[in-house]
């Protein structure tokens, strides 16, 4: 009889998961796009799309695989963290931010809806929209939860007028920024709408067109957790979103000693 995957995962060292023979995990990155020509990301981006606002709604366009779909650099940085930490990840690039990293909530919502249709297992949202869009966002996040998709989302860096959505919903894994000596360390925040704190200070990220820089922010703490989720799901595909949260809490407690 095979061992219970949840019990097995509880005994697994998160930092050693990357060395295992992991199953591929599809991860959607809703952001400013990804530069798939960067050496760190070449061959890692399975598909790319661009959601852009139009007068009658949001238009979706296919982007050639392996091209640069990033006009700013935020998404490339986010994707490079996921790719580095989780070698089993297959990235799906959903560009929902316009040049200058300007966000249009309708594009974010359209991109999320598309990610749900495709049932990609983990969805990274290093962005936040205002609470007024909750009427549309909450049912989508609930749907993701019930169809076994894991949403990882950023708290706002400057949490005004709100902490940011969808990070604050129970159906997502909300991420605050912290400074740790390893990406495999976490803090669980009991009683806080943003449940986990992850490494987000001074992270090395890929730059559009080549090269690397250092960035800090909740945007970069979020892909750290996305990568950890992808490692877990790659080894234990049966895990459900609530089990992933329980495991992250377990690891957080273990890391704290």
């Amino acid at each position: 009889m095979s061992e219970d995957p949840v019990l097995s995962a509880f005994h697994e060292q998160l930092s050693r998961l990357a060395e295992k023979n992991l199953q591929p995990v599809d991860v959607a990155v809703l952001d400013s796009g990804i530069d798939a020509t960067h050496p760190d990301l070449a061959g890692r981006v399975a598909e790319a799309f661009h959601f852009r606002p139009e007068s009658d709604g949001v238009a979706r366009a296919d982007v050639a695989a392996g091209a640069n779909n990033d006009t700013y650099g935020h998404g490339t940085g986010v994707a490079s963290i996921i790719a580095r930490l989780a070698p089993n990840v297959r990235l799906h690039d959903l560009r929902v931010l316009e040049p200058g990293n300007k966000g249009v909530a309708a594009c974010v919502i359209a991109g999320l809806r598309f990610a749900l249709e495709r049932r990609w297992r983990v969805i990274n949202l290093s962005l936040a929209v205002a609470e007024k869009f909750s009427t549309e966002l909450i049912p989508l996040c609930e749907k993701a939860y019930f169809q076994n998709q894991i949403l990882v989302a950023s708290k706002r860096n400057f949490p005004f007028p709100d902490v940011g959505f969808p990070a604050a919903y129970a159906s997502t894994i909300g991420i605050e920024i912290g400074r740790f000596d390893s990406p495999f360390k976490l803090v669980f925040n009991p009683g806080d709408t943003i449940e986990f704190t992850a490494l987000g200070e001074d992270l090395t990220i890929a730059v559009v067109g080549g090269g690397y820089t250092t960035k800090s922010g909740t945007s970069f703490a979020t892909p750290v957790v996305t990568a950890l989720c992808a490692l877990l799901v790659g080894h234990y595909p049966e895990l459900r979103p609530f089990e992933i949260k329980a495991l992250l809490k377990h690891y957080a407690a273990a890391a704290a000693g």
Binding site: D40, Y72, P99, G100, N101, K102, G103, R156, N157, F158, P159, V163, E176, I177, G178, R179, F180, V187, N189, D192, T197, G200, E201, D202, T204, V207, G210, G211, Y212, T213, T214, K215, S216, G217, T218
Partner: protein, 228 residues
Amino acid sequence: MPPPASTAPDHLLSRFLGILPSTPEEKILRMLIELGCEVVGGQEGSLLIYDKDADVLRFAMTVGDPESEKKLRGQAVPLGAGLTGLAAATLEVQTGAPTFKDIEQKERAGDGSTPDAVIAAPMVSGDELVGVVTAVSFQHGKRFSSKDARLYAGFAAIAAIVVDLRRRLSAYESGEAAVPQEESERARLERRVLASMQRLVSGDPARLRAVADLLAAVEGVALPRAAQ
């Protein structure tokens, strides 16, 4: 009336924000940038005002290096361009570091003339962009943390209140707006905060550190859980 194409650098604060040279507001803005730079460990700081008609930011005030002030004043930065333009476009505080060719970050890309660390924080009055304040450091390996960014964003918020108060006062003085019968609670509190700040920092530079520590403490209380 929109500003002329050749905007005179010396009058940017008065032209766009209604803040005349050597007024208390001008001094407070300068002190806020100086204090903000000191708190986060920056060597130079700037205030860029938003020129709505041209849709660009313009350097209006620089502290830390008189040469930089001469060189930069009046220069335009398009919205969305660079870190400063990005802070204006997104209305969110941004931090930046140089680009390196290698992941170990040993060999810098470009000519190496860019600062080692930059913060750009938007000044927002209501929903309206007023300008951006920046802090830069040329110290090798210096990086601004997210806590630095939050702190500097606090200075930007106070600077925006200064501008907002000046605008409202100008509107009352010119008769464009009626003087409210009763001061709103928020306006009263903002005025008290500014008056206290002015008293604390006026004439005694040695008090800057104490004020910085105070602001850091206030930030720790006012914002949710501090990052680890």
